[in-house]
């Protein structure tokens, strides 16, 4: 017996939650909130989301979706097109390959994982940005962004966990 259309549609809607949420986060990260210097160190909400869902629902946050999210956030922020895609794909790749370590363990391990992976990605992004513009790009804002992302990570992990338990239990 094949599942009804309504059921499949429901499932599709629930399944698209991680992606839709990340697009929303990408938009939120460019909304000007009027704090001095915040625009340059806005936490990497999209990267946090990709990291979380790559561990917990990898089939809802697969590589093509990561690529697409990167393109969207590049277009939104004015970053060189392809840069965010590359970084998000790498985040996704690393998280996916290590997900056995994180899954079912304490939250602090995930946070520690983000601490390591986030740092690698931040350094890599700095090197790519320098190579791309053939100039020295100040590293302080990149590190500040990394630090802030690390600070807001628990909140987002909690939020995503809530969604996962309520909306995506069956997917």
């Amino acid at each position: 017996m094949s599942p009804t259309l309504a059921y499949q549609f429901n499932r599709f809607l629930r399944g698209s939650v991680p992606f839709a949420l990340t697009v929303l986060l990408a938009m939120m990260s460019v909304v000007p909130i009027g704090i001095s210097g915040y625009a340059n160190v806005t936490p990497a909400f999209v990267a946090i989301s990709v990291f979380y869902w790559s561990i917990h629902r990898p089939y809802l946050m697969n590589a093509p979706l990561c690529f697409l999210l990167g393109v969207i956030s590049d277009c939104l922020t004015g970053t060189p097109l392809g840069l965010s895609s590359l970084l998000l794909l790498l985040t996704h790749g690393i998280a996916l390959s290590q997900r056995r370590i994180f899954i079912g363990k304490s939250f602090f391990l995930t946070w520690f994982g983000y601490l390591l992976i986030g740092f690698i990605i931040a350094m890599l992004s700095w090197i790519i940005a320098c190579l791309y513009s053939l100039a020295y790009v100040p590293i302080a804002p990149i590190l500040a962004q990394y630090g802030l992302s690390l600070l807001v990570f628990p909140f987002f992990a909690w939020l995503f966990g809530l969604l996962q338990n309520n909306l995506l239990r069956l997917t």
């Binding site: 499932r11 399944g15 938009m27 939120m28 990260s29 460019v30 909304v31 000007p32 909130i33 009027g34 704090i35 001095s36 210097g37 625009a39 340059n40 160190v41 806005t42 990497a44 089939y59 809802l60 697969n62 590589a63 093509p64 990561c66 690529f67 990167g70 393109v71 969207i72 956030s73 590049d74 277009c75 939104l76 922020t77 004015g78 970053t79 060189p80 097109l81 392809g82 840069l83 895609s85 590359l86 794909l89 790498l90 790749g93 992004s125 790519i128 940005a129 791309y132 513009s133 100039a135 020295y136 790009v137 100040p138 804002p141 990149i142 500040a144 962004q145 997917t171």
Partner: protein
């Protein structure tokens, strides 16, 4: 969507893994290819960006409205506490500015008379387009703003963007109803400037830090902290004499400039429609040139 454990699945999973791996590598190479394509300044990439911002700008405008409202409310409460002092200060400032206004009027008239005596050409009319800032760069790599005005509103690439206190940057990309501003602090920003007093010309070079560098000054130029910097109008894209900032530090290696613009309160900015007659193509800038000529009479 969840993989079901069936015998078929078990048989096919190595194939699936290989496919997934190759898709991953393919996408990584695609991202790198996009970076190179963007570097090569290909039109398709820019059109894709502007198409995206066109779609997103109205959404962002809606999202940013409550944020703006919240800010206004907070600002109002903060102002309430210092209402009397503020009022007193503004009264004094108003009296002072009225004197300045009288001086300014006399000087303007005098200038006009001299111009007529010399038969000097006046600068074309500058028409501001007021646009709302709906997005910022949201990351450490670039310094940009997103505006909710675009080609249909008369915004064109290269036009100057000013805030009440001074120049902010220039238009870098234009969509139908959105535009991206390259701030003067961005790595790619180059703005022809002149020192207000000594009239030495230079280029204001952004480097992603908060204070851009004043470069390419003549070797005999003497610069000290506090000197005012204005646009020179060289190249014909920006109107001359718009305030930018003051020299904040002078060292052996570089001269830094602190912009007048208040970066945290950029809610509305003006895009300056400006044409030097004969310098721009009327087909590319419909309307602007005609309106500029209204001034020339």
């Amino acid at each position: 969507m969840a993989p079901r454990q069936s015998s078929v699945f078990k048989l096919t999973w190595p194939l699936k893994t290989i496919l997934q791996r190759s898709a991953f590598l393919l996408l990584i190479s695609l991202a790198i290819a996009l970076l190179f394509l963007g570097k090569a300044n290909i039109g398709v990439v820019e059109r894709m960006r502007t198409a995206t911002t066109d779609v997103v700008a109205p959404i962002l405008a809606t999202i940013s409205q409550p944020v703006d409202a919240f800010h206004k409310a907070v600002g109002r409460v903060q102002k309430l506490t210092s209402l009397i002092e503020e009022n007193e200060r503004l009264r004094e400032e108003n009296a002072r500015l009225l004197k300045w206004q009288a001086v300014g009027r006399t000087l303007e008239q005098e200038n006009e008379n001299f111009r007529q005596l010399l038969n000097a050409l006046s600068d074309p009319l500058v028409l501001p387009i007021t646009a709302r800032v709906v997005g910022d760069n949201g990351g450490p790599f670039v310094r940009t703003l997103l505006l909710n005005a675009g080609r249909r509103d008369g915004v064109r690439v290269g036009q100057a963007v000013v805030a009440p206190l001074g120049l902010v940057g220039r238009i870098a990309e234009v969509g139908e109803r959105s535009a991206r501003v390259l701030l003067l602090t961005d790595l790619n920003s180059r703005i022809p400037v002149v020192m207000e007093k000594s009239r030495h010309k230079g280029i204001l070079v952004g480097d992603n830090s908060t204070s851009p560098i004043l470069d390419f000054l003549p070797t005999n130029a003497t610069v000290s902290a506090g000197d005012r910097i204005v646009t020179s109008g060289d190249g014909g894209m920006l109107p001359a004499g718009r305030p930018i900032g003051i020299v904040s530090s002078v060292t052996e290696r570089s001269i830094r400039v602190k912009a007048f613009a208040d970066w945290t309160r950029l809610e509305y900015v003006s895009v300056l429609r400006y044409d030097l007659p004969g310098m721009s193509n009327p087909d590319e800038n419909p309307g602007d040139l005609g309106e500029s000529r209204l001034d020339a009479k």
